[in-house]
């Protein structure tokens, strides 16, 4: 390993967004132990997570953490013009989006953009302006694909996106971010890689990137008579895919998925929150009532096809060009406090 360390003079100098999110935290930890990564500048809206304590206080000084709101132009401009970034000579940016979705309680930013779209725009704008930057690796969602009826939707990277005018806002913001990055795939000066993810299963069975599991009134609801299939991927595999994308020369869109595909009802049982099948009219009523009583409305429109139909991803391109193979299997472990603990076991 010492030999590798000496050879890593050409190591990456990385800026990483939303490092305080669950995926960001895991990514920072992995990058910190990656000998080919020389410097990490982690950004996040919140205070530095405690898991970074050891890295921040280390004598190596490879990690720096800064609080910044990525959706605000002023804060982003200040950061990208700061001496910190100039000194760091950043060559790669890893864009981890917030795993949440816009709700009515968060007012849209100026220009009517929801925060996620604004983030994507600002990140790309500053990435293009940063002369030293060569690689931009972004995480996106596979919810952007247009669903057909049934559970047999197998999407490749060239599948059609859901650009329908009645697309629900939480899907639309993913589509917008996706298309913002797609515009720079042919840029010769900046290599842009976009990884589209299905439901991401993190530590303790937490699920990200799946608005269907956000629930209404703290209960999981699905449309009666339908049980969409969910493609899953472990957050550890997401981190591996990002590292592979960082070190490869490939560009463009890549689907990333794990081994498991399970129906939403089974997945709900796995994470200890079974979903209740309700007629569509009743779901609509529950959504309106939850808005009326002041709670966040249903994260997905009641007419969204994602409540009815599932999809899986064809990961052949990632396998061939990135060398990505899922390394972890997701399965319910022993029951703790009346609920399963999802575990990601290495293959």
């Amino acid at each position: 390993m010492s030999l590798i360390r000496t050879e890593a003079a050409f190591g990456s100098r990385i800026v990483l967004t939303h490092a305080d999110s669950p995926i960001g935290r895991r990514l920072v930890k992995s990058l910190y132990h990656d000998p080919s990564v020389e410097r990490i500048v982690a950004l996040g809206p919140g205070p530095p997570p405690s898991v970074f304590d050891r890295f921040l206080s280390s004598d190596e000084r490879r990690l720096t953490y800064s609080r910044i709101d990525l959706a605000r132009h002023r804060s982003m401009a200040t950061f990208f013009n700061s001496s910190l970034l100039k000194e760091a000579r950043i060559d790669s940016m890893l864009y981890v989006p917030a795993h949440g979705w816009p709700t009515a309680s968060v007012p849209p930013l100026a220009g009517g953009l929801v925060s996620q779209t604004a983030e994507a725009r600002l990140v790309l704008k500053h990435a293009l302006e940063l002369r030293s930057l060569e690689n931009l690796i972004c995480l996106g969602s596979a919810l952007v694909y247009r669903l057909s009826p049934g559970n047999s939707n197998l999407f490749t990277e060239s599948s059609e996106l859901d650009l329908a005018p009645d697309t629900s806002p939480e899907i639309r913001c993913w589509v917008n971010a996706d298309m913002i990055f797609q515009g720079e795939f042919q840029n010769p000066g900046l290599r842009v890689v976009l990884l589209r993810l299905p439901s991401v299963v993190g530590t303790g069975g937490k699920v990200y990137f799946n608005p269907m599991l956000a629930g209404i009134l703290k209960s999981r609801i699905r449309s009666m008579g339908f049980d969409p299939i969910c493609a899953l991927v472990s957050d550890k595999d997401v981190v591996r895919a990002m590292q592979l994308a960082l070190h490869s020369t490939a560009r463009g869109v890549f689907n990333i998925a794990g081994f498991e595909t399970v129906p939403l009802s089974v997945f709900g049982r796995w994470i200890g929150e079974p979903s209740v099948p309700l007629p569509r009219a009743l779901i609509s009523l529950a959504s309106r009532m939850s808005s009326f009583v002041g709670r966040a409305p249903a994260p997905t429109s009641t007419s969204s096809p994602h409540l009815h139909y599932g999809f899986t991803l064809d990961t052949q391109r990632a396998r061939l060009e990135l060398g990505f193979e899922p390394g972890y299997r997701i399965a319910p472990g022993p029951m703790v406090d009346g609920r399963f603990q999802l575990e990601a076991a290495p293959v």
Partner: protein, 382 residues
């Protein structure tokens, strides 16, 4: 929003910071280390991972300038071998063992008591098709659902429709195959009996996946049953994926026009669609003409109001001697006798390549060849 109090900036010691020209730079503030090393948690420590070593080698490979050509005879960089370790490889076929090689499983539920030893052995041999530990394949197939519905399907197969079948020697024992059959009788019992026949009569048993119309996915509960029992909505990607994994796929190229054809045109095939020919050429899969004799008599269609049905949001609206007069019960098929015949496989891919599939005229021509082969089987065994 910037928070100037909390940034933790650790600039490299060798770099000397300049004073900013315009105001203070919040990111250039030095924050004393208020974190204690003792707080570090051992669980955050990552074990040595060969994946990381591979990443380093991968990066070194990419760092080699691509313009520079390697000298002849020079030793190759070891990292290049790492990159070339992932050659393009086709999907592996999912094989099913022969019945003699399958151990008879114990009876674990009341459903097992309804199944014979051979049927349980057949179910055990295909259990791994449904994704192994995950219990569901990528399209929602569940081996448990197949096992639980097998007693019903077997009763329909043996008692209700009294199916007789022949020509199983024409079905490849392994690898992708497309079973192209006729379709009639409104309800898709013909496809269900072909799937059951392939499961019960072939050795090794083949769990065929039927390609169904998109509207089937919009029907509540029906879509769940279809997915769990192995039916797949017909998209190019799903069709190609099934063939790439070496599975048997049942297609009914007549579509709904075959199912709703009037009684006066029974046993006369309608125009075949061409998508399955394209898939056959792309995947190198033989097409087995499959004739189901009997399904045309199971529910004679007197009138078809499909155009009117679409305005009502219904998939179809046939008028039969029993439907809609007896309500949903009128959709039950008559207990006719089925005869399933498998013809000799047509291997178009030996003569035409996947590029030839772009020619619509050729696709139509080959589609008519298949239609003619199925029609001939029907005429011979009717």
């Amino acid at each position: 929003m910037l928070d100037s109090s909390s940034p933790h900036v650790e600039p490299p010691p060798a770099v000397r910071r300049r004073k900013p020209a315009l105001g203070s730079d919040p990111f250039a503030l030095d924050v004393p280390k208020n974190r204690d090393k003792d707080k570090s948690n051992d669980k955050d420590r990552i074990e040595p991972d060969p994946f990381l070593d591979g990443l380093v080698l991968l990066r070194q490979t990419n760092a080699v300038p691509t313009q520079r050509k390697p000298r002849a005879g020079s030793p190759r960089h070891p990292a290049i071998a790492i990159r070339e370790r992932t050659p393009p490889k086709a999907r592996e076929w999912i094989d099913v063992p022969e019945l003699a090689d399958v151990e008879l499983p114990d009876r674990t539920s009341w459903v097992d008591r309804l199944l014979s030893d051979e049927e349980r052995r057949r179910i055990a041999s295909i259990a791994h098709l449904a994704g192994g530990d995950a219990a569901y394949d990528r399209f929602g197939l569940s081996a448990d659902v197949v096992r639980n519905t097998l007693p019903i399907m077997t009763a329909l197969y043996r008692i209700y429709f009294r199916v007789k079948s022949s020509g199983h020697e024409n079905i490849p024992k392994r690898g992708p195959v497309i079973m192209a059959g006729n379709h009639a009788g409104v309800m898709p019992f013909d496809a269900a009996m072909v799937v059951t026949d392939l499961l019960l009569q072939c050795d090794p048993p083949r769990l065929a996946r039927t390609v169904v119309d998109r509207w089937a996915g919009t029907l509540p509960w029906v879509n769940i049953f279809y997915a769990r029992s192995g039916q797949v909505i017909g998209t190019r990607e799903s069709f190609a994926d099934l063939l790439a994994s070496g599975q048997a796929v049942v297609v009914l190229p007549e579509g709904m026009s075959g199912a709703l054809k009037p009684f006066s045109e029974r046993y006369r095939l309608q125009e075949f669609r061409v998508g399955f020919i394209e898939q056959s050429l792309a995947a190198g899969a033989p097409i087995v003409p499959t004739a189901v004799v009997g399904s045309d008599d199971q529910m004679p269609v007197l009138l078809d109001f499909s155009t009117f049905a679409k305005k009502l949001g219904l998939p179809l609206l046939p008028i039969t001697p029993t439907f809609p007069w007896f309500g949903p019960l009128g959709l039950l098929p008559y207990p006719v006798s089925y005869q399933i015949v498998y013809g000799e496989p047509l291997r178009f891919y030996e003569r035409y390549s996947a590029e030839d599939a772009r020619d619509p005229e050729l696709l139509r021509f080959l589609s008519r060849q298949v239609r003619r082969a199925v029609q001939r089987l029907i005429d011979q065994h009717r």
